[in-house]
C-alpha cells in the first residue's frame, strides 16, 4: 500500500464548481456528477498536479492545511472513496 501511486483525471477531465458546503465535480469521461465534501476536493487538487505516493500526498496536504485526523489510514479511506467513484486511479 505504501508504494501505491495515486493520480487524478487530466486537467480538462473535470468541471469543478464549489457550492457552499459541497463541491460539485462533473467527470467528463463518465458523465457522472459527484458531490464532494472536504477533504475530497483538496485531495483532488493535489492529485491534479500529478501522480503521487500516499505519504507525499499527506505531506503536501499538511503543508497547506492544519490537518486533524491527519493519519495515513484516514487519507487512505478518503482515497478509497474517490477511487470507488472513479475520480482517482491507483497503481
Amino acid at each position: 500500500m505504501s508504494g501505491t501511486i495515486f493520480w487524478g483525471p487530466p486537467d480538462n477531465g473535470l468541471l469543478i464548481a464549489p457550492l457552499d458546503e459541497f463541491t460539485a465535480v462533473y467527470h467528463r469521461a463518465s458523465g457522472i456528477t459527484h458531490l464532494l465534501t472536504e477533504p475530497a476536493p483538496q485531495i483532488l487538487a493535489v492529485l491534479g498536479e500529478g501522480p503521487v505516493l500516499l505519504d507525499a500526498l499527506l505531506a503536501r496536504l499538511a503543508q497547506d492545511f492544519d490537518l486533524t485526523d491527519g493519519t495515513r489510514e484516514a487519507l487512505a479511506a478518503r482515497l478509497d472513496e474517490l477511487v470507488e467513484a472513479g475520480l482517482v486511479e491507483r497503481t
Binding site: P9, H34, L36
Partner: protein, 144 residues
C-alpha cells in the same frame, strides 16, 4: 459610488486561483477523517436512469482501439501472443455480467477463473476515452 464593492483585503487571495486549485492561500483546518456519510456522493447521469440501460451496455476486452492485444494477469494490455497473457475476449461483456463477476467473484461468461480475473482487472483499470469506460463507471454507481 463604489461603496458596495468588497474591500480587497489581500491581493494574493484571488478568487480565481482559489477556485481552480481548491487550495486556499491562507492556512486553515482540514479534517481528514470522521466523515459520517463519506466525502463523495455520486449522482447518476441520465444514462443510468433505467437499470436496463446500464446492465445492457457493453464492455469490450480490450477496447476496439487495441483489438487483438492480449490481457496479462494484472489486467494490462500487452502485445498479441505474449506468454502467460490471455487472448482478447471474442465478444464484449454486458454490464450485467461484469457487475455480477465483480460483486460475487463469479467468472465472466466463457472464461476460467484466471482469465476472468485478468479481464476484470483490465475493466477496473479502464480510463476515459477507452471503450467500455462509461459502462463500467455506470456500474459503480450506488443503486437507489
Amino acid at each position: 459610488m463604489s461603496d458596495d464593492t468588497q474591500p480587497n483585503q489581500d491581493p494574493a487571495e484571488s478568487p480565481d486561483s482559489d477556485a481552480q486549485a481548491g487550495v486556499p492561500t491562507r492556512r486553515r483546518v482540514l479534517a481528514m477523517g470522521a466523515v459520517t456519510a463519506g466525502a463523495v456522493v455520486s449522482i447518476r447521469p441520465a444514462l443510468a436512469q433505467t437499470a436496463g440501460s446500464v446492465l445492457n451496455c457493453e464492455i469490450p476486452v480490450p477496447d476496439p482501439g487495441r483489438a487483438g492485444s492480449y490481457i496479462d494477469a494484472n489486467g494490462g494490455v500487452v502485445p498479441a501472443r505474449t506468454k502467460g497473457a490471455f487472448p482478447p475476449s471474442t465478444r464484449a461483456f454486458r454490464g450485467e455480467e461484469v457487475k455480477r463477476a465483480m460483486a460475487s467473484g463469479s467468472t465472466l461468461p466463457g472464461t476460467d477463473s484466471d482469465r476472468s480475473r485478468a479481464y476484470v482487472k483490465y475493466i477496473r483499470r479502464l480510463q476515459r476515452g477507452q471503450g467500455g469506460f462509461t459502462c463500467f463507471a455506470s456500474l459503480q454507481m450506488p443503486r437507489g
